[in-house]
Symmetry: C3
Subunit: 160 residues, 3 copies
Amino acid sequence: MIKIGILTCSDKGSNGERVDTSGVAIKEIVKEIGGEVIKYEIVPDDKKNISEKLTKWSDKLKLDLIFTTGGTGLSKRDITPEATEEVIDRKVPGFSEIMRLEGFKNTKHSILSRGVSGLRKKTLIINLPGSEKAVRENLKIILPSIPHAIEIIRGKTEHK
Amino acid sequence: MIKIGILTCSDKGSNGERVDTSGVAIKEIVKEIGGEVIKYEIVPDDKKNISEKLTKWSDKLKLDLIFTTGGTGLSKRDITPEATEEVIDRKVPGFSEIMRLEGFKNTKHSILSRGVSGLRKKTLIINLPGSEKAVRENLKIILPSIPHAIEIIRGKTEHK
Amino acid sequence: MIKIGILTCSDKGSNGERVDTSGVAIKEIVKEIGGEVIKYEIVPDDKKNISEKLTKWSDKLKLDLIFTTGGTGLSKRDITPEATEEVIDRKVPGFSEIMRLEGFKNTKHSILSRGVSGLRKKTLIINLPGSEKAVRENLKIILPSIPHAIEIIRGKTEHK
């Protein structure tokens, strides 16, 4: 079982102006890899707020994996990658690179996502874009790499 | 209309030893996306000099987009990426990644480009390589993503 | 002739628990580009230790190119990328990006490698993964770009 947190970063989502279909999509899709969503919250695009949630979910709740959705674009308020970089110990750039570059085959906009990925101790944190469509496409790309990643982080296997 | 600056970073270009065909190529190509070149200068490969130009063009002239060309390679004096990183607030790595990796299909040398991309407030800054051929190839790859990027930065639309 | 160093980063390799077939593979493969291995050592996954070796091999031995192997994964002790980032002056991200993304076509695990690449003065440092299979696959991808890179670093040619 993979313990998962979903943090939706969206001003409009947090004040009720928009329904968070992306968070819901993640919740459903992670079942495919035995993911169980322990935490799911919507926060505004506030750097400190996002960093604090990621820190707490990693250090206190000891989740295996946190997906953020939203706040990775070029709008003034988009700050999820910076909030994430502030709390990770070690970067894992491959997840973000492959989402942008594989995604580019379908949509030219995929390279505008500024998402980062990394480890905070034993918690893997991955920024997903905000739109449900992009979330679905991106998870399809990276999901097959996740279970092996979690095994290695837990120390139960070595990298093949 | 997209307000564009072109900053050619080249010791030889700035002292007249080399004709800057790359800058001229950018000027011509950006017309395809409604780009109007407001500023075009050639500076030597000097970090402080490059950073100051980028800062001034962003903060005072409020350009939408600055393309640098040159100074992204492995030579001793190549320093454009470091000068750019010093002035951007938020990284937009996808532009640089896609230029290196799509470019790799044509030429193995494309991965030697150390270019970065990012935002300084509302100005998007993208490092292009120095050679005219590489500039043309790279712009072909990223140009279709630019107009939507500028719209989002201006706040006139949301990321799709 | 390209002067090469191989630094195997592995707790098990350094205490004799594992035979370093990856280091041996690099030694053999670099002959294809006129590489001569001047230094080859196995060190534990210790950040300070790795950084010191890289610094000494660059500054004192003035090697053209150092390949590290191992320590790029998600295990608790994997620290080679962080040790490398500490000693490089200028990043050369393309080598690491292309290894992850071209590698992804063969194996989904390639994106878990956290390897970085960069220059310390005139020495190019490239992190390779730990497994022999991955080392062979990755070198196949980047080797054709190496000789031109070394020429530029030495200042004997300009970037084409």
